[in-house]
């Protein structure tokens, strides 16, 4: 392969619907499997794996006929979400090799190999890599490589699992392939046989317009395949923002311990795909199909992006334990919102921080212990309203990582220079009373003189300073206006009193400590 010369690969998974089920239940690979659809007695086979096809089971047979031909046949209902997930998994596996690919059909991906020689080596190497990546997401694929998508598609259907058409003799290699090795419609195959065509070379030798006039668009497509010419433009595929995987169940699951292994299997497949794309999960949507016909949906926002199965399964189990489905589950679908995998845990001189996995688990347990509204990182709101703050999700200091931490010697220097007084250790802290305690205050010349409340507080004001007047949101329903005083009480407590000018009440809002 020479860089700059067009080389295309076709990655093909036979019988994708059956392959999708085998991906969900790997033990099915060892058995003849048929995917059936419809309602009895009109159930028909729509897909069959290689073992079943070898026994004579093919799409279109009724279920009864298929069982007669292959008594050991395992039958599974078609599960569209699992098939869609397998299709996406194949695309994502190819995306990890080349950024330019086309979703040609269910289970067929065209990959542009231009420029990959420097990364992976020869066509054979690239083909093997594509096959390996497909196997990593649970799919057994055949790979054909040629100068065009049509040639690659033919190569992927015949010959060894990784079939590279040599550049110099590609036309000759294509021409020698028998027509019977490719899948044609029954009518088209009969026409080719009647015309006496045996190989692709025979079909390619016919004039294209003549084939088109007699056989229509299907004939033209067959002729293009035989000549190895691409007529349609390349339609690049880009990954969706959400990555999904799913599994249908032939049985109903009513308990969480039984559901967890199923969730784990789906999650393992999803994370295998994300790993290939160097992505991690930021948030996860769970959609459980219920026996009643409805769905049970939950969203799980992770404290930190994760790419490991065990902690996410633990968090999912906790979430479903808190919000269990009302009836038994018949299908599981996971949809992941992803972010790029962080390249490094932190700077060389930064102190150690908890591993994302440990931090996520601890935050989830803390949230369960004290509630989601009570765990987080405090953020002071830019407002004059006293004690105006919110809790933001704790991200382990990721938001702060863009600012370089102080080294110990810097810190000493900063303490010395930033200290307000010559020997000040720091700033006097406040302890808030939430909600503020309502008190009765005797005043003299508008200044507090005595503070008392029904809970037993009765103290004279020794010294007071103030008032500091503030107000805000007067244009809205949550208007506020207060005068604040710093007072030292006779019981040696230094506190902050606030006089609400809207309700004319006194509040004990904080204590200096």
């Amino acid at each position: 392969m020479v860089d700059g010369v067009s080389r295309m690969a076709c990655v093909r998974v036979e019988a994708l619907a059956a392959a999708a089920l085998e991906r969900c239940e790997p033990s099915l690979r060892e058995q003849p499997l048929a995917v059936v659809t419809g309602t009895p007695p009109a159930k028909r086979v729509v897909e069959a794996n290689a073992r079943a096809r070898a026994e004579g089971v093919h799409p279109g047979l009724t279920e009864a006929e298929a069982v007669v031909r292959c008594p050991a046949l395992v039958r599974r209902a078609a599960f569209a979400e699992a098939e869609a997930a397998a299709r996406h998994a194949l695309l994502e596996a190819c995306l990890s090799v080349s950024p330019r690919l086309e979703d040609a059909a269910a289970g067929v991906v065209h990959v542009d190999l231009r420029g990959l020689r420097r990364l992976y080596g020869s066509d054979d190497e690239v083909g093997r890599r594509l096959r390996r990546q497909a196997r990593a997401v649970g799919l057994d694929a055949r790979v054909g490589i040629g100068a065009s998508r049509a040639a690659a598609a033919v190569a992927a259907r015949v010959g060894p699992p990784v079939h590279v058409l040599p550049t110099a003799t590609e036309r000759a290699a294509l021409a020698a392939i028998p027509l019977t090795t490719l899948e044609w419609s029954e009518e088209l195959g009969a026409t080719f046989a009647r015309w006496g065509l045996v190989t692709l070379g025979d079909l390619a030798a016919l004039p294209r317009h003549g084939v088109g006039a007699r056989l229509g668009p299907r004939g033209l497509a067959a002729h293009d395949l035989a000549t190895g010419v691409d007529r349609a433009p390349f339609r690049p595929w880009s990954p969706p923002p959400c990555w999904e995987d799913a599994q249908g169940l032939d049985w109903e699951i009513a308990t969480l311990p039984a559901l967890v292994p199923v969730l784990q299997g789906v999650l393992e497949r999803l994370l295998a795909r994300l790993t290939l794309a160097h992505l991690v999960v930021d948030a996860l949507d769970v959609r459980l199909a219920l026996a009643s016909g409805g769905h049970h949906a939950r969203s799980l926002a992770l404290a930190v992006p994760l790419g490991e199965v065990a902690p996410i399964v633990a968090l999912l189990a906790l979430e479903l334990e808190s919000h269990p489905p009302a009836v038994a589950v018949t299908g599981v679908a996971l949809s992941a919102h992803v972010v790029a995998r962080p390249t490094a845990p932190g700077g060389l001189w930064q102190p150690p921080v908890p591993a994302p996995r440990d931090l996520a688990t601890v935050l989830a347990r803390l949230t369960r212990l004290v509630g989601p509204a009570n765990v987080g990182s405090p953020v002071v709101v830019d407002s004059y309203r006293p004690d105006d703050h919110v809790l933001a999700p704790f991200d382990g200091g990721a938001r702060a990582s863009d600012t370089a931490p102080e080294r110990p010697q810097d810190h000493d220097a900063a303490t010395e220079t930033a200290a307000p007084g010559p020997n000040a250790a720091g700033q006097l802290a406040l302890r808030r009373l939430r909600p503020p305690r309502r008190v009765e205050v005797d005043t003299h010349d508008g200044r507090p003189r005595r503070v008392r409340d029904p809970l037993g507080l009765d103290a004279a004001v020794e010294i007071c300073a103030g008032p500091w007047r503030s107000s805000g949101h007067w244009w809205d329903t949550d208007a506020w206006a207060c005068d604040e005083w710093d007072v030292e009480l006779s019981d040696h407590i230094i506190c902050r009193l606030a006089h609400d000018r809207l309700t004319h009440t006194w509040l004990l809002t904080a204590v200096y400590d």
Binding site: A429, I493, I494
Partner: protein, 187 residues
């Protein structure tokens, strides 16, 4: 530095004192020192009394602080501290037990110390009275030594600052350089 003398990896430091004695200011000072170095700190707050505004003003990097509020549930607060003490990576886990803390069972206190030792986390317990007992490596008491107002005495303009005296109550295995001392806080 004072904070390095007060806190030790894998050990429990206990800070007790009445209201307005400066104990919360000492906790804020520790949080400031830890977070400004780029390390992570956690504060388990039983009485929901932590004031983010004054902490930010004191220099605490709030983005590196995990605030857990137990809304008065002391058992939940102790469980939260136990969880955090088993998560290596936090440099400091502070527990503010508030004004009427029940005494921690000695076995639970020693288990907490063992967890902190394994995770190499410094634990700071602060409250009105001692709750950890013999599991604390260092116990200190805060008392108010002085108060300063700016302006004339009868109508002061504002609170200027407060002096806190630190007295060592218990020192087991702690460095010898930990001694009683006085700290000045500006308001």
């Amino acid at each position: 530095m004072l904070v390095d003398r007060l806190l030790r990896q894998g050990a429990i430091t206990e800070l007790v004192g009445p209201l307005s004695s400066g104990r919360t200011s000492v906790v804020t000072l520790c949080l400031r020192a830890i977070t400004r170095r780029g390390a992570l700190a956690a504060l388990v707050d039983v009485d929901h009394a932590f004031d983010p505004a004054s902490a930010a003003e004191a220099g605490v990097d709030l983005r590196r602080l995990l605030w857990v509020r137990s809304e008065g549930r002391r058992r939940a607060a102790l469980k939260a501290v136990d969880l955090l003490a088993r998560c290596p990576g936090f440099a400091l886990v502070a527990l503010d037990v508030g004004e009427s803390p029940p005494r921690l069972p000695l076995s639970a206190a020693f288990r907490l110390r063992q967890a902190a030792r394994r995770s190499r986390i410094a634990i700071l317990v602060v409250g009105a009275r001692r709750v950890v007992g013999g599991a604390a490596t260092l116990s200190l008491q805060t008392r108010r030594d002085g108060l300063a107002w700016l302006g004339p005495h009868h109508v002061p303009r504002r609170l200027a600052g407060m002096r806190t005296g630190l007295q060592v109550l218990r020192k087991q295995g702690a460095p010898a350089r930990v001694e009683s001392e006085r700290l000045w806080w500006t308001a």
